[in-house]
């Protein structure tokens, strides 16, 4: 059945009863009336399976009262917010009072998947996790790939809302629509791999998927993350610390029922088959499959945009020792991937002594290699892989950890801190051993590590002595490994990201340098120079932000869709997938509008918390010249940058303080938000 002939559409449009659906559309005359009604039920509103593509059920977990309850959610919420980021923003804006302590019981932690999660197509496998961020004080969100999202959805819930705080450590166990809180006293203090092993053994569920925190989350390291199955991470913004503050050590999910029956499985199978048969024709995808994200290290170095020595320069002499080719040659054990994806861009590595690693913890991505490598001046790939393992085991964001250590190294070399503060660690650029020692001190909050565990903004405020100048962050979140002085749109992204400095908010400048059909489908017709900060760049940035925001609302990997260089699927494929999954007749326009709605909702969350144009800024270093590398001397022009930010506000329908105008909110169906940010 296709299009309007499907019972779902008829029931929606004509308001047919289940009996009418059963008699009108089930032509199998051999079926009894009861059987026809059962079939109609499974078609209409879900029985064991649902054709809608989602459960319409959320789990609310009250840790203060040790209670779990199931809430039914109307389809309209999904149509308006789609899932993932959208459901998180919708929940947190409605349920969090402004000004709460992110590490207090009033904060809430949301795990959410989307209407298309579990569709058997590459890349549709990410879970969003969100809370008010203890690192930034803004809305905080991160996504993780792997298998957890699909397992969670098939276990019966599209979202899990965790509220309150437990008196003693607990973990949440969900299986086939049932949930319970279990004692986690024995898990407290354990690393992420230990937690996953113990929980699976205790439950007798070797295939359960585990999200958990390590000791860093327990110790409230402000950039602690949530680790999924040892190697995938909801990395940024300190969501692991929120989980730790609630004494929630882990969430385990398992389903035994068969997968969803989506609306048009033939169409989904057709898209999946096309992907599997054609992805090898896309060099970017093959390259990603061969080297993973570490493929970027040496090209960015050649381009002069590899962040080096705390962003002083853009090239690193040891780049060839830490790039994708070296990783494959020296420490790669096997490649790994996510649900339904043949690309398998992840690495499992075994580094060599004295930094030997366990392949179960995966391997370092590009961001991690640059953060612990070029940014800290370290060219020992084994040490970088070991740092990656420490972060995955203790549950810390590798970007923030690398940036905060690079900051401390610069402070040490400038004499702002000495061996007295570092505990006799000679914290110089290039000293791998010192980097590892300091990383462990952060994870355990020992000495200076306890200061750095506060994140680079707070650490610089504590250290003082002018160190603020070397603290690379936006809104308190450490800068990722992309250099805005060679890709100026990246600067806009860092400043305007609703979750602090983040590299996954819109495609980076090189994506717009070639005119491409998939860009045209997003309304970007002409190529845009990577060093331009003119209106055409701002426009591309805005549309790009809506596009990548949409991918977060749908829980989709940004690598599998154009205009990412590894992308194979197009925006129009995504529309087909949404409709084939849900039975909706959505358009790209409708979906982009949903993304815009969610972006504005998050913006309003931050406005309500006191953030505005004054916070949409970059560290001063980016307005100074790159000190070395092929782009030596390049810098951002502050005046042009400020003009671009203002133009972005105007394009987005925001006022000069970056606040969404009332008309924009009404246009997006967010009239209910107006009174929250226009008081008095």
């Amino acid at each position: 059945m296709e299009g309007n002939d499907h019972p779902l559409n008829h029931r929606r449009l004509l308001r047919l009863s289940r009996t009418e659906v059963a008699t009108k559309y089930d032509t199998a005359t051999a079926l009894s009336t009861t059987e026809k009604l059962f079939k109609a039920d499974t078609l209409i509103c879900g029985g064991v399976t649902t054709p809608l593509g989602f459960n319409a059920k959320w789990l609310r977990v009250d840790l203060s009262n040790n209670e779990v309850k199931v809430e039914e959610v109307p389809e309209e919420v999904y149509r308006v917010y789609l899932g993932g980021r959208g459901l998180c923003a919708y929940t947190l804006f409605r349920e969090l009072r402004p000004g709460i302590d992110p590490l207090g019981p009033e904060n809430k932690l949301v795990f959410a998947v989307s209407v298309i999660t579990g569709a058997p197509v590459a890349g549709i496998n990410r879970v969003s996790v969100a809370a008010k961020s203890p690192l930034t004080g803004t809305y905080g969100e991160a996504e993780a790939g792997g298998f957890f999202a699909v397992e969670m959805k098939l276990a019966g819930f599209d979202a899990i809302i965790v509220e309150g705080a437990s008196e003693k450590p607990v973990y949440l166990w969900i299986k086939d629509g049932h949930a319970e809180l279990r004692d986690a006293s024995e898990l407290w203090g354990k690393t992420t791999k230990e937690v996953a092993e113990i929980v699976r053994r205790e439950l007798g569920e070797p295939l359960a998927k585990i999200a958990c925190i390590g000791p860093a989350g327990e110790k409230l390291v402000r950039f602690a993350n949530i680790v999924f199955d040892n190697r995938y991470a909801a990395g940024r913004g300190g969501l692991g610390a929120v989980m730790g503050s609630k004494k929630l050590k882990a969430v385990a999910v398992r389903r035994t029922r068969r997968p969803f029956e989506f609306y048009d499985e033939k169409k989904l199978a057709e898209i999946a088959r096309w992907f599997n048969e054609n992805w090898r024709k896309f060099p970017g995808a093959v390259s990603r499959s061969t080297y993973g994200t570490p493929e970027l290290v040496t090209p960015l170095n050649g381009d002069g945009t590899l962040p080096t020595l705390n962003f002083k320069g853009g090239s690193f002499d040891g780049a060839h020792l830490i790039g994708g080719e070296m990783l494959n040659r020296a420490i790669l054990v096997s490649r790994d991937g996510c649900f339904a994806c043949p690309i398998r861009c992840k690495a499992n590595v075994r580094a060599k002594p004295p930094y030997e690693t366990d392949p179960a913890y995966g391997g370092p991505e590009y961001e991690t290699i640059a953060a612990f490598g070029s940014l800290c001046g370290v060219s020992d790939l084994n040490a970088i892989a070991y740092a990656n393992q420490i972060c995955n085991a203790f549950g810390m964001d590798t970007i923030s950890a690398g940036v905060v250590i690079a900051f401390a190294m610069e402070c040490f070399e400038r004499g702002i801190i000495t061996e007295k503060e570092t505990g006799n660690v000679e914290l110089r650029f290039g000293n791998a051993d010192s980097m590892i020692k300091m990383l462990l001190k952060i994870a355990n909050r020992e000495g200076l590590g306890g200061v750095l565990a506060e994140g680079v903004k707070r650490a610089s405020e504590i250290i003082g002595k002018g160190s603020e100048k070397f603290a690379m962050h936006v809104k308190g979140k450490e800068i990722p490994m992309h250099e805005p002085r060679g890709k100026v749109g990246v600067g806009l992204m860092y400043a305007l990201s609703p979750i602090g400095a983040d590299h996954m908010q819109f495609p980076r400048d090189p994506a717009y340098e070639r005119e491409r059909e998939d860009l045209r489908s997003l309304g970007i017709i002409k190529a845009v120079d990577r060093l331009s900060l003119g209106p055409e760049k701002v426009r591309a940035a805005y549309y790009g932000m809506l596009w990548w925001g949409l991918l977060d609302c749908l829980g989709v990997c940004k690598f599998t869709f154009t205009p990412h260089s590894a992308g194979v699927l197009t925006p129009n494929h995504l529309v087909d997938i949404v409709n084939a999954t849900t039975g909706w007749q959505a358009s790209l326009w409708e979906l982009m509008k949903a993304s815009e709605r969610v972006l504005n909702l998050i913006r309003c969350f931050n406005i309500r918390e006191g953030f505005g144009a004054k916070d949409d800024i970059l560290p001063g270093r980016f307005f100074e010249e790159l000190e070395f590398g092929p782009r030596r001397g390049q810098r951002l022009d502050r005046e042009k940058f400020n003009e671009a930010v203002e133009l972005f506000y105007e394009m987005a329908g925001w006022d000069r303080d970056g606040r969404p105008k009332k008309a924009k909110l009404y246009e997006l169906g967010l009239g209910w938000v107006v009174n929250e940010i226009y008081k008095g």
Partner: protein, 96 residues
């Protein structure tokens, strides 16, 4: 017949794998285009190079592939090149 020489640099590991080196000097006829250089590279290193750099119609680069001529991104593979130009071949640097 006059010939020109251009420097071809292979910036991405994947493209270095395809051709087996990181840079070389390529000699082509005067008046040649970027596409002609790619054809020449494929002639030297094998047809698999062509299949990975050009799309099936051979009228455009494959998605994700970028060619810079003297540091400027090429929009049209029929762009004419000059003696001593430097061509950089890479996978677009937009994602980690």
């Amino acid at each position: 017949m006059k010939y020109i020489r251009v420097k071809a640099k292979y910036l991405s590991p994947y493209i270095r794998d395809l051709v087996g080196l990181s840079e070389e000097v390529v000699t082509v006829e005067e008046g040649s285009s970027v596409k002609d250089v790619i054809m020449k590279i494929a002639e030297i290193h094998g047809k698999h190079v062509l299949a990975q750099l050009l799309d099936d119609s051979e009228r455009d680069l494959r998605g994700g592939v970028v060619v810079l001529v003297n540091n400027t991104t090429v929009q049209d593979i029929n762009h004419k090149i000059q003696d001593n130009d430097t061509l950089v071949f890479l996978i677009a640097l937009n994602g980690g």
